[in-house]
């Protein structure tokens, strides 16, 4: 029998113990994943998740998140949320309280208010500085209302935004992934992010897209991705990895196949993922560098770093 455990990306490692504490007190694996992710969302350290996340091209922080339950294949997600910090919890409410899977933008705000969530200022000194810097970099002769929508529209029309964007966006992302498994084999995957830095307003990456950045099924395993979400959206990387497990591949073989498909797209940008199989084996992978993930079970005092695999372009 597997001991209940959590794994997470680097930015999740300082918060895994918060989720483990929930398990020790008898909470569910979903409670544990949610709690760990909330810890990251509230921290200003990560720079790509929750408060202080990377802003859009207009300088606003817009968050995406999803949560999935492997026992029932139930899931909830939100995207483009700019007024609330705990998007993982709003995503869970979407799953539990509505007949829907994904709520976006203003509709997600209304829903969060109706569910009693408190508004939160997601900006920090850093995000404000980035906002200013973007504006300066795009246009030397800034109009006074450069943050206005009309300016954005004009900048796209004049192609300035595209040129500028191409220079910047290859490595501008960071997401938190937390996967939990309890001693009964129940798997939950949580993903939360502010998305690609300096994204277009309203851009949604793979984090809230079930099958792209998040998927689990108790019968096979669980997968969560970070990186250039546009790539995993086009391939359904998380869903396909689970299908490869279903077809009988090992965790490493399944991930390797998925990442080779990413390379085959021949696009700029990279992907990372963390994953578990139904037996509780864990792995992480990167298409661009050495990979590690952090593991903590209910009997451990602190998380342990585990090596993953680097799937190179062949």
């Amino acid at each position: 029998m597997v001991k209940s455990f959590l794994i997470g990306t680097r930015n999740a490692s300082p918060h895994l113990h918060e989720g483990i504490e929930v398990l020790r007190k008898g909470g569910s694996i979903m409670d544990a994943v949610e709690t760990a992710v909330r810890g990251i969302e509230e921290s200003t350290e990560s720079g790509n998740v929750g408060v202080g996340g990377a802003p859009t091209i207009l300088g606003d922080v817009e968050l995406d998140a999803s949560i999935m339950e492997g026992a029932t294949l139930r899931t909830g997600a939100v995207a483009s949320v700019s007024k609330y910090v705990h998007v993982i919890s709003i995503a869970r409410k979407v799953m539990e309280e509505t007949p829907h899977v994904l709520l976006v933008g203003d509709g997600a705000h209304r829903f969060a208010r109706a569910m009693g969530f408190e508004e939160w200022d997601l900006s920090t000194e850093r995000t404000r500085m980035i906002g200013e810097a973007i504006a300066k970099d795009i246009a030397e002769d800034l109009p006074d209302d450069f943050r206005g929508k009309d300016y954005y529209v004009q900048a796209i029309k004049s192609q300035k935004l595209h040129e500028w964007y191409k220079r910047l966006s290859n490595e501008q992302y960071g997401t938190t992934n937390v996967i939990g498994m309890d001693s009964d084999g129940n798997i939950v995957v949580g993903v939360s992010t502010s998305g690609m830095s300096w994204k277009y307003p309203g851009r949604v990456g793979d984090s809230p897209i079930i099958g792209a950045g998040n998927y689990c099924d108790n019968r096979y395993g669980g997968v969560a991705c970070t990186g250039k979400g546009e790539l995993s959206i086009r391939l359904l990387t998380a869903r396909m990895t689970i299908k490869y497990l279903e077809e009988g591949m090992s965790l490493e073989a399944a991930i390797t196949k998925s990442f080779n498909e990413i390379h085959n797209l021949k696009e700029t940008g990279t992907m990372q993922c963390i994953a578990v199989d139904k037996d509780g084996n864990t792995i992480s992978a990167s298409s661009a560098r050495e990979s590690t993930h952090w593991y903590m079970d209910v009997d451990m005092d602190e998380p342990e770093e585990r090596p993953g695999i680097w799937v190179k372009d062949e």
């Binding site: 933008g105 509709g107 829903f111 851009r203 079930i210 086009r234």
Partner: protein, 312 residues
């Protein structure tokens, strides 16, 4: 070589000839799909797509759409888009002009304006009546006061109106699926919808969700879904259909397997439309006889083709 062709769901029957014309003139599959979908979006009598689409719980029509290119597997999508009829064209611009796949809400609308797509009024006599009825059915003033609207939502969610909501949304959907293959063997899938009727504001279904409601890969085939999108999202149905084609299953086998997976969730139904690399077409339904419409470059009119009814 396969003759260039276009297929669509029932609500596309009278529109796919516009796409067939594009193909006859040597246009790409994507041009053909966009032309036919635009015509469905413009039709005010179609209550599930574009102008006249059934509004959300607050009386506002919000559109979702996606388009995918099977050669590059690049895709573009928009969700929660208001005040723009040709959602599929905005999705195509996302594919062509941005490094992204999906834009939502006001960001999507701003982007549409930036690329020169005009504002349009999506309401019709019917949708205005629905919005008025929803106002009348709610406590006085609650729908008109911005702050009170949250109370309205909470009421729906918490005070038993959720049950009523479940009932009305059982069959309140209608999405258009149109897909084509051109003379180069390039495939394209287009999906456009106003989503589930009376949905929560901001709800996104499977239509703009690549892999759920839309997928294609020139090497294997194309798939699109309609119905309760939440189910296709939970299973990545369109992506699975194309991967089952890759595994070598027959078209009928693929549709059966994908829809049986949906039956196993026991939470509602979807329909799907599929073709393979040889130009064979198929459709599937979980609730009744399934049909789809086909036209190739030599057809004079749409041909009705039978699909499969996949029972539990």
């Amino acid at each position: 070589m396969v003759k260039p062709f276009i297929i669509g769901t029932r609500n596309a029957r009278d529109m796919i000839h516009l796409g067939a014309k594009v193909l006859r003139e040597g246009g790409s599959a994507m041009d053909a799909v966009e032309a036919a979908v635009n015509a469905v979006e413009d039709n005010p009598l179609d209550s599930g797509v574009g102008v006249g689409g059934t509004p959300n719980l607050l009386g506002v029509t919000q559109l979702d759409a996606s388009i995918m290119d099977g050669g590059t597997r690049r895709s573009g999508a928009v969700a929660g888009l208001e005040n723009v009829a040709h959602a599929i064209s905005v999705a195509r611009k996302v594919l062509e002009l941005t490094p992204h796949d999906l834009l939502v809400g006001p960001g999507a609308e701003m982007f549409a304006r930036a690329v020169g797509i005009e504002k349009s009024d999506l309401s019709t006599e019917r949708t205005r009546k629905i919005a008025a009825a929803m106002r009348a059915g709610s406590p006085e003033g609650i729908m008109d006061d911005e702050k009170e609207r949250e109370r309205f939502l909470r009421m729906w969610l918490e005070e038993g109106r959720g049950e009523w909501y479940k009932k009305i949304t059982q069959e309140e959907w209608g999405t258009v699926n149109i897909m084509a293959m051109d003379a180069n063997g390039d495939m394209c899938v287009g999906v456009s919808t106003s989503g589930l009727g009376y949905k929560l504001p901001g709800r996104v279904g499977d239509s703009p969700y690549i892999g759920a409601g839309n997928y294609c890969d020139n090497r294997f085939g194309s798939a699109a879904c309609t119905g309760k999108g939440e189910l296709a999202i939970r299973l990545s149905s369109a992506r699975m259909i194309v991967s089952y084609l890759e595994n070598g299953l027959t078209l009928k086998g693929v549709v059966r397997k994908a829809l049986k997976d949906v039956h196993s969730l026991q939470d509602g139904t979807i329909s799907c439309l599929v073709f393979d690399g040889e130009g064979n077409t198929m459709s599937g339904s979980m609730t009744g006889e399934s049909i789809h419409y086909y036209m190739d470059v030599d057809s004079e009119g749409p041909e009705e083709r039978k699909g499969v009814w996949v029972k539990p």
